[in-house]
């Protein structure tokens, strides 16, 4: 069960494939620049959080709100999903459509697990009276973690759509190019999470 990604037989087709390759490279580069601008947004949300981190207004601080095992579990889910997306890329390289779909599903489930944990964490905090209205610290925390969760949710929707595309159209160069950018986005989100657990959770618990 092996679909060839490109069929470079004649010289005409080869130049066509080269052109398609260049177009894909350009799109990847454009997407990379978007990722850099997204990094700046997250870095500024982190900086805002650091500025607000002591403004608890008599409310609960990070020490009472954050749980180390929960944070570790979320980190592991994200790292695992980033790794399984790597397996998706490897499956794309050898053109195995069903392996791509299988690893995409695993990646989706791991990402969904992360989002479920995050929603339950934020909901639990809000119900316990530590919602974003409680203090400047919590406003900054909810803004940062909320926008992170939104990004991961968008990634999950994107994974579902890409999965449908692979299932329906197979691994043609355009589908592969989109998967390639989805991979960049997904690995990038894991890098942002390193910043969040190193700046928000671990110093908060310490």
């Amino acid at each position: 069960m092996t679909d060839a990604v490109t069929t470079a037989v004649g010289s005409d087709e080869e130049t066509e494939a080269e052109e398609a390759g260049r177009a894909i490279d350009q799109r990847t580069y454009g997407f990379w620049i978007y990722l850099m601008s997204d990094t700046i947004i997250f870095a500024l949300l982190l900086a805002t959080f650091v500025v607000m981190s002591h403004n608890t207004a008599g409310g609960p601080g990070g020490h009472t709100l954050f749980r180390l095992p929960q944070t570790f579990a979320k980190t592991m889910l994200l790292l695992a999903s980033s790794t399984t997306f790597g397996f998706v890329s490897a499956a794309i390289a050898v053109g195995q459509r069903w392996r791509v779909l299988a690893w995409l599903s695993v990646t989706f489930l791991l990402g969904l697990g992360f989002i479920a944990m995050e929603i339950s964490e934020l909901y639990g905090m809000a119900v316990a009276g530590a919602g974003p209205w409680r203090s400047g610290f919590l406003s900054a925390f909810f803004t940062l973690v909320g926008s992170y969760g939104t990004h991961v949710s968008v990634g999950l929707v994107w994974i579902v759509l890409s999965g449908c595309e692979v299932a329906l159209r197979g691994l043609n160069p355009f589908v592969v190019s989109r998967l390639c950018r989805l991979g960049l986005f997904w690995h990038f989100l894991d890098i942002v999470w390193i910043g969040i657990f190193s700046v928000v959770y671990l110093p908060g618990i310490l």
């Binding site: 060839a4 700046i40 500025v51 570790f72 390289a93 894991d190 671990l202």
Partner: protein, 104 residues
């Protein structure tokens, strides 16, 4: 087997190496925060250092960024992003903490 159109040989190996390195670099700060064998300031430094190393590991093994000419444009964009980030974040923290200090 034809190569993928985005170029480069993609196998599982770099992802496994990256995952193991990332796992170790995550376990160190979490373990230190759980056990607290050092003073907080020392733990802060270790958290910062492992985070920076882990970002480099992710860029190298997951995003395949290297020093070859093929990823030069991406590296330049990354460096520009890093400069903007340092100015914005460094400036924000400097100004806000300075203001806080003066208003105390």
């Amino acid at each position: 087997m034809p190569a993928p159109p985005h170029g480069g040989e993609v196998t599982i190996r770099p992802y496994l190496v990256g995952a193991v390195l990332a796992l170790v670099l995550t376990a160190i700060p979490f373990g230190l925060v759980a056990a607290r064998p050092l003073r907080p300031i020392q733990i802060f430094i270790v958290i910062g250092a492992t985070a920076i190393i882990q970002v480099v590991v992710h860029l190298r093994y997951f995003l395949h960024l290297d020093l070859k000419p093929s990823s030069q444009n991406k590296l330049i964009a990354l460096c520009f992003g890093a400069v903007v980030l340092l100015i914005l974040v460094g400036g924000t923290l400097w100004i806000m903490f300075n203001l806080n200090y003066r208003l105390m």
